[in-house]
Symmetry: C2
Subunit: 236 residues, 2 copies
DNA sequence: ACTTATCTAAATCTGCAGGTTGAGAAAGCT
DNA sequence: AGCTTTCTCAACCTGCAGATTTAGATAAGT
C-alpha cells in the first residue's frame, strides 16, 4: 500500500519546453506531489532517475535523439524500478501496445483533461495500471490481432497431428538439437530405430532434414510431450 | 457505430441456474436489450450462437465439460463474429490474460455491482473493450511479466552480436533451412566460402551443427537482416 | 606502413545425416 | 484368425555436413 505520509516524487521528461512548464505548474498545485526534476532530454532524464529515484516518471514519447520507448528500455537495463507514465499525442494501437509491453504503468493522451493526468499519477502510485477506456480498446486492437495471427500459423491442417506418440518424443529431442546417438541413449533404443523414426517424421512433415523439421515444429505450435510421456512409457 | 434503432440481442451461458435466472431478469429490465437465449451448457450455447447470432454473449468461465475459454476457441473456429463478455468469479491475472488473448471483449467479476454488467454490455456493444481498472491491472501483471521473461532470454550477453554482416546473412539463410549449395547460389559465392562462414558462425555461437545454430538464433531474438542488406550488397 | 578484420576460396578428410529395403514383435481392431 | 498400426532393428549406401589448414584480396584503423 502507498505511503501517504510523504510526498510523491515526480520526474518530468518532455522535449517541449511549454509542455514541461505547464505540467510542472499543474503538478505543483497538488500539495502531496513534489517535482524532483524536469528535463527536455531523455538521456539527461535517465541520469536524474538514477540520482533521485522518483516514484513516478512522466515521459513524453515523441522526442528527438532518444524517444520515450527507448528511454523505458534504458531504464529497464539500468535495473531501476520506477513507474513510467507515458504522455503521448498519439493513440496508435501499436504505440500503446509497445509502450505497455516495455513496462509502462500508464498512458495518457495530451489531449485529455489535465485532471486525467492527476488521476493517472494517483492510480499508478497506488500500484495499479492507468489506461483509459479508449486506450485499453486500442491496446487490445493490436494485442488480439497479434494473438489471432499467432494461432493462424499454428492452425493450417498441421501435419504434426499425424505423428505417433513415439515420433513426437523423437521430434521433441530433435527440437533440442540432439543427435542420433544421444537420442538413442535417451530413449533406450538403437540408433537405427531412431533413424527410422526420424525418416518417418520427415515424410510426414514433408521435409528433408532436421533443421526444417525443427523449424516446422516450432512454427506450428509443437508442444513437447516427452517430459511426461517418456516417464510413463519407461515406467510401464 | 452502434445501431440504436433495434434491441441488443444478448445470449447467456452459465451453468449455475440461479445466476442464469438472475442475470436474465436483470437484463430484461433494460428496455433496449432482448435475451435471445439462455443455457447452462457451453456446447448448447454454441448451437444457439450459430442459430441466433447474438450481439453479445455473456459467458461464465467456470463450467463443467467445456469451460468458457474453450467455448471462445470454439466460437473462433466457427468463424462467427460475436462479442463475448466473460463472467467470472476469479480475478487471476493469467485467467484474464488468456480470456482476452482468445478475443474476449469484456471481463466482469460476479462480485461486481450488477450495474457494471450493464456498463460492460453497453461498452462492448459500442465496439470498445470493457475491462475494469482492477482487472486491467491484473491483466498487465501477467502481460508485462511475460514480456520481461521474453526479453530476458533475448538478452544474456548474446553471442549473435559478435557476428559480422556476412555471417548474419548466412545465418539468416540457415534459419530458413537452406543447404550449402543454395546458400552459395543466393549469395553468389562459392560453396566452400559458405562453409567457412558457417564454421565461423558455429564457433561464435558455440554450437556444433546447423540445428543448434538455428535454435540459438531463434531463442535469442535473431532478426533477419538479409532482405535489405543482400539487395544492397548485390546491387553494389 | 603495419596490423587487424572481413570476405573470399581451394583442398582434404572424417563421419554423421539421410534414404532404402526388409523384417520381427506386440497391441488393437474387425 | 487376420489385418493394421506402431515400435523395434539390421545392413548398406550415398553424400552432404562439419573440421582443418592455408592463403589471397580488400578495407579500415593505428
Amino acid at each position: 500500500m502507498r505511503d501517504f505520509t510523504r510526498k510523491l516524487r515526480v520526474l518530468l521528461i518532455d522535449d517541449n519546453a511549454n509542455h514541461l512548464r505547464g505540467i510542472k505548474e499543474l503538478i505543483s498545485l497538488e500539495t502531496n506531489y513534489s517535482v524532483v526534476g524536469a528535463t527536455r532530454s531523455a538521456n539527461l532524464g535517465l541520469g536524474l532517475i538514477k540520482k533521485y529515484r522518483p516514484d513516478i516518471v512522466l515521459m513524453d514519447v515523441n522526442m528527438p535523439e532518444k524517444d520515450g520507448l527507448q528511454a523505458i528500455q534504458s531504464i529497464n537495463k539500468m535495473g531501476v524500478s520506477t513507474n513510467v507514465v507515458i504522455l503521448s499525442g498519439y493513440d496508435d494501437s501499436d504505440l500503446i501496445y509497445r509502450a505497455m509491453k516495455l513496462g509502462a504503468r500508464g498512458y495518457v493522451l495530451k489531449t485529455m483533461a489535465s485532471s486525467k493526468l492527476i488521476d493517472a499519477i494517483e492510480t499508478v502510485a497506488d500500484g495499479k495500471i492507468y489506461l483509459p477506456s479508449i486506450l485499453t480498446t486500442r491496446f487490445f486492437e493490436y494485442f488480439q490481432n497479434a494473438a489471432k495471427e499467432e494461432t493462424k500459423v499454428v492452425a493450417g491442417e498441421n501435419l504434426l497431428l499425424s505423428l505417433t506418440g513415439r515420433e513426437n518424443e523423437v521430434l521433441d529431442l530433435l527440437t533440442q538439437g540432439i543427435n542420433y546417438k544421444s537420442i538413442a541413449q535417451k530413449l533406450i533404443i538403437s540408433e537405427t530405430t531412431v533413424k527410422t523414426h526420424v525418416n518417418n517424421i520427415f515424410q510426414k512433415l514433408q521435409v528433408n532434414d532436421r533443421t526444417n523439421a525443427v523449424l516446422y515444429a516450432l512454427t506450428h505450435g509443437f508442444k513437447p510431450s516427452s517430459a511426461q510421456e517418456t516417464a510413463m512409457t519407461t515406467a510401464a
